[in-house]
């Protein structure tokens, strides 16, 4: 953004919705002037004009100063735009299931929808038909390095089959990983060097915890101004600006992202990232298991067939039916998606927990903020103390498209107070002994001290509005895990729409098996944060 610019727009175009925000220079800083969203088919110009008209009505002089006073004026301002297209499909093929699993794990966190294929015991015709499917945009074939005794007899067959597919479709991107990736080797020699599609030699999924292979596969997805890659870049920059450990969990209609970055003095934060199409709000592969996941988070009794039909319609019209029971259904689907995201990215738990968790993506947009805070606490079960925020205007991804790191840092630093809606803070100790009082908690905030007896298994809510901070003192009878093992801790927490959540439930969360009882438990937790919903 040049210094002469007075306003710009951000556009985050997803598969379900398009989010638009208007940013203007107020005083010497960039400030968020407004944001809105609409169905993906709605032209962004219409949404921009909606924002411009509201700005002009609310503050005519500011609108005039920014050159946004007249109708259509917003159409010509610069835009930072990104797109999150539907995930492409990759066929992952290996000789045995043992070899396939790590390959699938790498590909499924690199933004690809995965079609797993094992040669051992499979019919060649079925494998060949799957590889030839026109929806498949790339093939990842891999072997152990060196190949194990169980896979050696099948490797030649696999090479011949994949090479034959590239002769049918010369433009097919082919990745040979691990034991197949010998430069100039027997397998690479099967592929015509003059075909238009590349044959890429890739590291084994065992190397570097799979990250080098994941990163390579992510880069092969293509797509300019990719919203999820941009979101990752913005996560790193935000960690630097706030000097905190940050984790972003983004749930969208066609995929999900988990990105974590930690500030390090004197160095740019390098985010860890996983882009997981299977953790989409409603993945294309939606099956009974996915439905069970959604049903498990519903707080109202809805017939299973009815839920399936409503979810089917939600997939067709993701922007519709957003109020009432539709909001509950959407929230249950978002929780289930977040569960899948966490399950697909367990390696993240090896690192210290974040100071700030940010919910991003269209799935959270129509749900009241406090409920989003609860949903994050329900699924992200890591002991510790953390703040929660919501990328309410979907600014992060478009800002991540600013290529120059310093410029991105400068713009985001200006907008740091506008980027996120504070959802509140969560205190989540683990290792509480059930059946007896665990201790007490004292909150010292602007309204004076408040004391709370800690009862294991409960969820306590302390009113702490956005913008307020409080000192929390936790005194426990037995040592618990709270990032570190301790009995007594004092820390400062930030307020938010959901206030302070003292989450004394089990880590991981234990919910009743029976759906009816489970619904009652979930509804009781939700009631305090979503009183408007008449269950």
């Amino acid at each position: 953004m040049s210094s002469e610019q007075t306003a710009f727009a951000t556009v985050d175009r997803g598969t379900a919705t398009v989010a638009v925000a208007l940013v203007g220079r107020v005083g010497a800083r960039w400030r968020l002037l407004g944001s809105t969203a609409g169905p993906a088919g709605v032209p962004e110009e219409a949404l921009l004009e909606r924002l411009r008209a509201r700005l002009a009505a609310a503050d005519p002089s500011l609108a005039a100063d920014l050159g946004l006073g007249s109708r259509g004026a917003a159409a010509d301002i610069p835009r930072l735009a990104c797109t999150t297209p539907p995930a492409p499909e990759i066929a992952v093929v290996a000789a045995t299931q043992r070899v396939l699993d790590p390959l699938v794990a790498a590909a499924s966190t690199a933004g690809w929808r995965v079609r797993p294929l094992v040669l051992d015991g499979a019919e060649i015709l079925g494998v060949a038909t799957a590889l030839a499917d026109p929806r498949v945009g790339a093939i990842l074939a891999g072997a152990s390095d060196p190949p194990g005794a169980d896979e050696r007899p099948l490797i030649a067959d696999m090479g011949a089959l994949v090479a034959a597919m590239t002769e049918r479709r010369p433009d097919l991107v082919t990745v040979l990983a691990g034991g197949l990736a010998e430069p100039g080797g027997r397998i690479e020699g099967l592929f015509r060097p003059d075909r238009p599609g590349p044959t890429v030699l890739a590291p084994s999924p065992a190397a570097g915890g799979g990250e080098p292979l994941r990163s390579l596969l992510d880069s092969l997805r293509g797509g300019t101004q990719d919203g999820r890659r941009a979101l990752v870049a913005a996560t790193g920059t935000l960690a630097d600006i706030l000097q905190r450990r940050i984790e972003v969990v983004e749930i969208g209609q066609a995929g999900a992202t988990r990105a974590a970055a930690a500030w390090t003095a004197g160095a740019d934060a390098v985010p860890r990232v996983a882009i997981v199409p299977e953790a989409a709000l409603l993945p294309r592969s939606f099956a009974d298991g996915h439905l069970d996941g959604v049903m498990g988070w519903l707080t109202v009794p809805l017939d299973r067939l009815r839920v399936r039909d409503r979810l089917r319609d939600l997939a067709l019209v993701p922007w519709g039916d957003a109020a009432g029971e539709g909001a509950l259904l959407r929230l249950a689907a978002a929780r289930a998606a977040l569960e899948r995201l966490v399950a697909a990215t367990q390696s993240f738990d090896r690192y210290p927990g974040p100071d700030l968790v940010i919910a991003a993506g269209g799935a959270w947009n129509a749900v009241p903020g406090p409920v989003v805070a609860l949903a994050l606490a329900d699924v992200l079960r890591r002991p510790g103390v953390r703040a929660a925020g919501l990328d309410h205007a979907r600014l992060l991804a478009p800002l991540g498209t600013i290529e120059d790191v310093e410029e991105r840092r400068s713009v985001m630093a200006d907008l740091r107070e506008d980027l996120l809606v504070p959802l509140g803070s969560v205190v989540m100790p683990a290792g509480l002994r059930p059946g007896r009082p665990a201790g007490r908690l004292v909150v010292r905030g602007a309204g004076g001290p408040a004391e709370l007896a800690l009862v294991p298994g409960g969820l306590e809510l302390v009113d702490l509005p956005p913008g307020e901070r409080a000192v929390v003192e936790l005194e426990l009878r037995d040592p618990v895990r709270l990032g570190l093992r301790t009995r007594h801790v004092t820390m400062e927490v930030a307020g938010g729409l959901g206030g302070l959540l003292v989450d004394l439930r089990e880590v991981p969360l234990q919910l009743p098996e029976r759906l009816e009882r489970r619904r009652e438990v979930l509804a009781s937790w939700q009631a305090a944060l979503w009183p408007e919903f008449e269950a």
């Binding site: 809105t36 609409g38 169905p39 088919g41 709605v42 032209p43 110009e45 219409a46 949404l47 004009e49 909606r50 008209a53 109708r71 019919e123 060649i124 015709l125 060949a128 038909t129 030839a132 499917d133 026109p134 030649a156 067959d157 090479g159 011949a160 089959l161 090479a163 034959a164 597919m165 002769e167 049918r168 479709r169 067939l305 399936r308 039909d309 409503r310 089917r312 319609d313 067709l316 019209v317 922007w319 519709g320 039916d321 957003a322 109020a323 009432g324 029971e325 539709g326 909001a327 509950l328 129509a366 749900v367 009241p368 979503w530 009183p531 408007e532 919903f533 008449e534």
Partner: protein
């Protein structure tokens, strides 16, 4: 017009209607896909103009793999995906088989895997158009001559027939309401249909069903029935179902019903991938579509139709959810504020 909505005409005239999603009634340049798995033989080439009923591909119903020895002229090499047949007049042929070369057998010299089968059927094109792409082992693409009404999803196979209206837009067709007199037709059956009625329609020679919604249970039952039918020894005629809106019950939208009424009695093609109805030689879309006419597509008032009066701004709806909304004027009803996301216009 109420006091609340007074003065909104200017904004409406100025184009705020663009904030409401549009559903196009008739689309051009739609491209349909026909699966061509390894072994199936294309009978057309890119650029070929096909008429409805022209052979499109030869489908093998019992695909299997055989190994054959492939000898080619000096310097040449067999190409995966190409057709192979024994050299005529050769005395010691492996077997009398013909098929598609899949891949060489590693370590066995000139031996290749061949996809072949004994039971073959010719699949005719359900639609007239131009073949745009043929990818052996993958698909055939055809651009139909005509305009398309897109649906939400489809099941079964692409078919062709005479468009007939069996019920009104709100109706439901019961199995007893289908007889052989409907054979060869594509029936428009109103708001919903069950799997039993679908299978009866197929048995009576109906070629396709167009319905507003098809619940997931009925879809699954029908697909299971289709699989059983297709696995039978004798090939059955094509039969497809096109759901225009989704799974939850609602009527066919008035502008779409008007379109279907216009084309009743004419031959149409029902496509599965993408889900659509093709009106060949279709006239341009009716010019009198009211830009402000909307249908409430989802939410508690789903299925109702009316006119957009003006924007209602960010409003609080059930469960404390804040959504952008607009005022809709319904017949004999008070003005209703509806979330924009629940509305669809037609063009």
């Amino acid at each position: 017009m109420t006091e609340e909505t007074a003065g909104m005409g200017d904004r409406a005239a100025a184009g705020w209607l663009d904030e409401v999603g549009v559903r196009r009634l008739l689309e051009d340049d739609l491209e349909t896909h026909f699966p061509l798995p390894p072994g199936d033989r294309p009978l057309v080439e890119p650029g070929t103009a096909v008429l409805a009923g022209d052979p499109l591909l030869e489908h093998i119903r019992d695909r299997r793999i055989d190994e054959v020895e492939v000898h080619v002229a000096d310097g040449a090499r067999p190409i995966p995906g190409s057709r192979w047949a024994p050299v005529p007049g050769r005395r010691h042929r492996d077997r009398e088989i013909e098929g598609e070369l899949l891949a060489p057998v590693p370590g066995k010299g000139d031996r290749w895997r061949l996809v072949t089968g004994d039971h073959r059927v010719i699949l005719p094109s359900p639609v007239a158009g131009v073949v745009t792409e043929v990818r052996p082992g993958a698909e055939i693409r055809v651009r139909p001559d005509g305009r398309a009404l897109r649906g939400a999803f489809a099941a079964g196979s692409a078919a062709r027939g005479r468009l007939e209206l069996a019920t009104d837009p709100f109706g439901e067709l019961r199995p007893g309401g289908i007889d052989v007199g409907r054979a060869g037709s594509i029936l428009v059956v109103g708001s919903r249909i069950d799997a039993e009625a679908l299978t009866r329609a197929r048995a009576m020679g109906v070629r396709g069903i167009v319905v507003a919604t098809l619940p997931g249970k009925e879809l699954r039952d029908f697909q299971a029935s289709e699989r059983r039918q297709r696995a039978a020894l004798h090939a059955i005629p094509p039969f497809g179902v096109l759901a225009l809106d989704g799974a939850l019950r609602r009527s066919i939208a008035a502008p779409i019903m008007a379109l279907l009424e216009r084309f009743a009695g004419r031959e149409v093609a029902l496509l599965v991938d993408p889900p659509a109805l093709i009106f060949e030689g279709a006239d341009p879309a009716p010019a009198d579509i009211d830009r402000a006419w909307v249908r409430i597509r989802s939410g508690p008032n789903a299925g109702l139709e009316g006119r957009l009066i003006g924007p209602a701004g960010l409003r609080r709806f059930e469960a404390g959810v804040h959504l952008e909304s607009a005022f809709v004027e319904l017949e004999d009803e008070p003005l209703l504020a509806v979330p924009l996301g629940d509305l669809e216009r037609y063009a």
